[in-house]
Symmetry: D2
Subunit: 354 residues, 4 copies
């Protein structure tokens, strides 16, 4: 594709891990050029100073968000990888000034359609309620058609993508008891971001595992929304996240009880059929379970279904790379739909194992 | 204690991780001397060739089991850290020849009191059924009195110790629904032993997490036995083990539903009361959850209880070091009871963190 | 490129790490198709059983080497990723039967042009001396022209690639004292391959570092050959490899003394000029040093030069991914030259960090 | 020892890793009681809130330094594990007010006897020059007698302890060329402390290795001092530190040239003789090299000597745990000498491997 016809893309928050992962993917996407990179605290620096892996590549210098002329920039699409809170104001401003610029937001700010739920989980009223109403929840395999027409897509969370891909087809089919679901999720450390916190130092988190946010993690709000949507009634699940000493990966071990005579094999059949033609969801043979390392660096989700020894119960294990399908890869997948590119474009990398 | 009056101890299978951990602990136990170390494939070598951390210490040379004169050795107690199968024959022979020698077995061979259950889970009849009947299950906090009088103690498994310490008091009190228990367990790599297997190579297991033995792990048999014992009826739980890229540690995340009006706070109170005076089980304040790294190298189990957001449900998290309280530390604790030493002797090490 | 015109490629030894890495790269190389995969012990299995990351991809079933009809296979090029020893026989047989098939060998078997040196380092006479004479040492940046015309290329070792790229331009320019070079090298665990060895188990190698092969590592023979070649006289260096608890990466810390008035800045200038237009070698600004993680998964080598505090001495640090530029990536780079593809084709992946 | 006669000990800076390690060791030291713990930012909290591994232990609450009445506290000895800079003022104040309290300082503040060297390396004049003159450099195996009589001991750095134990006997014996020494050192992450810095986050430092402070690390000043002292003239060595993805451990790979006909075997003999009766330095058989994991958690230093393939040159590898012999363990060893306890008291732990 000649340079002149490439889509112009901006990445807000390029100094974080999801920002860097967007740059990694976009650098090898034939249909786009990276036109804008922001990082407020690193404004004026080169991307290579913040992420040395980009040393050999020509990239725009980092700028601050407030220095941007959104209208003049004439971007086709902006990825917003900013912290919760800031995001609403920035996107509201951007979309007001640059009507033609589409947005994929990687924060949690636009994921909850219910403004009351947002206020309850985040402790304050939403600051861009009209945009919140317009935003489409960007779980591609579920909301593909709406995403294609969206101006603003709220990219799902990493934990939620993993659990939803495994459970939505089963809840929709009323094949599992939606009131008995337990999701035990394990995440790599990049899920916690790049902010300098004592609790994320190497020596605090290596050589051990622990649960956190037990009983009250914000990703629950997303799960509630999407599961209730397909169930047609309120669904609340048990969800416990853990931190594992690895960089990338989410593994969700999901405990379900079959409904309506559905045996574990039947749950497997439902998922296999659902994802037969999906490029980025792969269902393993019945009885096999995935490992996070086998999807590392790829946009794939692997799902396995096994029989529990208790009759009627199944154990479903799903794995993805939290920075790819759980964040930046899915964001590029959303971009592809929004800008009319083939859905898998730029996302063909094979997993890096070992 | 003068050397002459120290108890004479043997360690069978000293070239494995639990064997080395026994040596680490026994070297600093004031009441014993290490008189015998076996390792069939390394017979004739020094312990320092097999485990260089022992280079500065004087230890007996490794010998083969068949070279031992059990009667002449006149050992007070033998730790048996041999693979499943061999164990039964060796212990049968040893106990026949050296009537005064007590045994703590770290394998699974003598853990199941029910010979039929043994045959079902292990695929063959037990080869020392009389000893099986005599053996005491060595979960100290539950079977302390019987252990004191035992000749042969079957040291519990690492997963089972962790789950049983958290659940037995609750099942006994009928405070949780024993038919709705889900145990999602995560283990460090030493739990898989030191045998050279492709699947345990650094590059196969670092930087990722996976479940294994889903629906059919042999530790289930132990859980069934102990839970059914206290429930007074058959109890079967859901249990899924995972491998985590760390050396030591087991974390069990346990999902329970309260019975008889027992709220999560009540479950916490039951456990707190149960373990108030136990030297090696520590219940954290309500709402706190433990990390495996904070018990690393110690004989401690930490237990935390939290509220789930679903009314009536609680999430219990227990952590221990699989090589210490989950194996060799508990074995020494058993030895202390069997030989009349103070229960905590030689087990006072503070956890090594970071 | 239409399927029919793609080059047909075979990978011998596809069940090892370098084999899997070749498959990862070749699956995304637009000019080739993977026509043959061998793995003697896994013959008859699918690649996804050996490396689950390939589950979503169509690949030929694994076969044994002895089952292959080399002539009928009509392969354009074969990568040989077999253990030392077997390699010579297999390649000799293959090249005799299929004259049109080119070979890139990833073992050490054809790297030493001097048959006497081979016999000295490997303890036996070479079994394919004519091929040995014909083989070209595949360090692309040094032997590019000869590689283009070669039938058989001996892909360099990982340690040697890293050290040679940093040192050859300096030795050639007589800018450093070739008799005073110390190379302290650190490697990730995949460098040791996938064979099940106790010493490579997770718990043996995590959480620690050690040197090995001190004073007598076989990669020294390659260093001697290439350094002596450019020096025009015998050059022998000090080289110590270490194992680091990481999957991928080699870091070489190289201690040199400038000759002929060459200061550290001058050494940096020589390297910068040498690699200015190389796609896969990047020299950092003077005073900066690279990290292995910033080249992970890419075919890049990063080189940094710094001043030592002792006048006249410099410290050079070079980093690459041992499975890519140190093995399979460089092998694909060689293939590209041998088959007339653009040199960087299929090797454009940006490093995966974190 | 009855509680009343135990030495009263304070730890300043108990919220850092060396502080926690001191607490770990002192809790099991029969001759002391921990009477005071400070942590300015955590004042008022319990130690278990800062380091959960201490949950089962009774410890004094954390206080701020300025709240302490040094004279009234009547401490026998204080360990100072504060950051560089603050240390000088605190110790000056403490020693002025509490004449009977001895001090072991774990910072770098009192290590350099030469005030000009201090000013040069640290960029400002020393603020307690009289104490600086009085302070004894606490490398026990070299300065044991002076330490026994000292009021203020400057505990050596981790890198320096490791290199000095390996090199001082050889330089003193003029057995190696002091002008040709290269020390390539690798450290675990706890060496960087517990301050929340982006560069020490898990995802920044796992799965990779890098050099830092190349050519200008402050530990060089200590090396210069101690090497010059035994050489009787100015000695300057090449020293490069690296960070390795492990919690604990320093490995120093040291390249030397024998002088006066001393072969590698002779260097080994000198070290073996020197350390024959030292409880905490163990010289491996000639040709063996140590691994950091085999001294983990212990106060031991392992040293190996091997032959380089270049005649006359040797490679010496030394390993210790940076938090024990490299910091808190050596500090307790110093305390034992200063307070008249047996030197090894409380330091008998066997290494924790794996």
């Amino acid at each position: 594709m000649p340079e002149s016809t490439k889509a112009k893309i901006g990445v807000l928050g390029a100094s974080g891990y999801t920002g860097a992962e967007l740059v990694r993917l976009l650098l090898r996407h034939a249909g786009v050029e990276i036109s804008l990179l922001t990082a407020d605290r690193r404004a004026g620096q080169e991307m290579r100073e913040v992420f040395p892996q980009f040393a050999p590549f020509a990239l725009p210098k980092l700028v601050s968000i407030e220095s941007i002329d959104w209208s003049g920039a004439a971007l086709d699409l902006v990825f917003c990888a900013l912290p919760h809170g800031t995001t609403q104001k920035v996107i509201k401003d951007l979309m007001a000034k640059a009507g033609g610029t589409k947005v994929v937001d990687l924060s949690a700010d636009f994921r909850l359609a219910d403004l009351a739920a947002y206020a309850r989980w985040y402790g304050h009223a939403h600051q861009a309620p009209e945009l919140q109403r317009e935003a489409v929840y960007g779980l591609v395999e579920v909301h593909r058609d709406r995403i294609k027409r969206a101006r603003l897509v709220a990219n799902p969370g990493c934990y939620t993508t993993c659990a939803e891909l495994a459970l939505i087809p089963l809840i929709r089919a009323e094949a599992v008891d939606a009131d008995e679901i337990v999701i035990d999720a394990k995440s790599g450390m990049t899920g916690a971001g790049r902010a300098a916190k004592e609790e994320m130092l190497f020596s605090e988190v290596s050589e051990g595992i622990h649960a956190y946010g037990v009983g009250h993690h914000r990703h629950m709000a997303e799960l509630d929304q999407e599961f209730s949507l397909v169930a047609g009634r309120d669904v609340v699940v048990t969800f416990t996240p853990h931190l594992v000493p690895m960089n990338r990966g989410i593994l969700s071990t999901i405990y379900v009880r079959g409904l309506g005579g559905n045996r574990p094999e039947d749950l497997h059949a439902i998922l296999s059929k659902q994802y037969l033609n999906e490029p980025f969801v792969h269902v393993l043979p019945f009885g096999s379970v995935p490992q996070t390392r086998h999807v590392r660096g790829s946009n794939l989700t692997f799902i396995g279904v096994t029989r529990d020894r208790i009759a009627g119960r199944a154990i479903i294990v799903a794995a993805l790379d939290n920075l790819v399908k759980g964040a930046s890869g899915q964001a590029v997948q959303n971009m592809n739909l929004m800008l009319g590119f083939p859905e898998a474009m730029g996302l063909e990398q094979v997993a890096l194992f070992p």
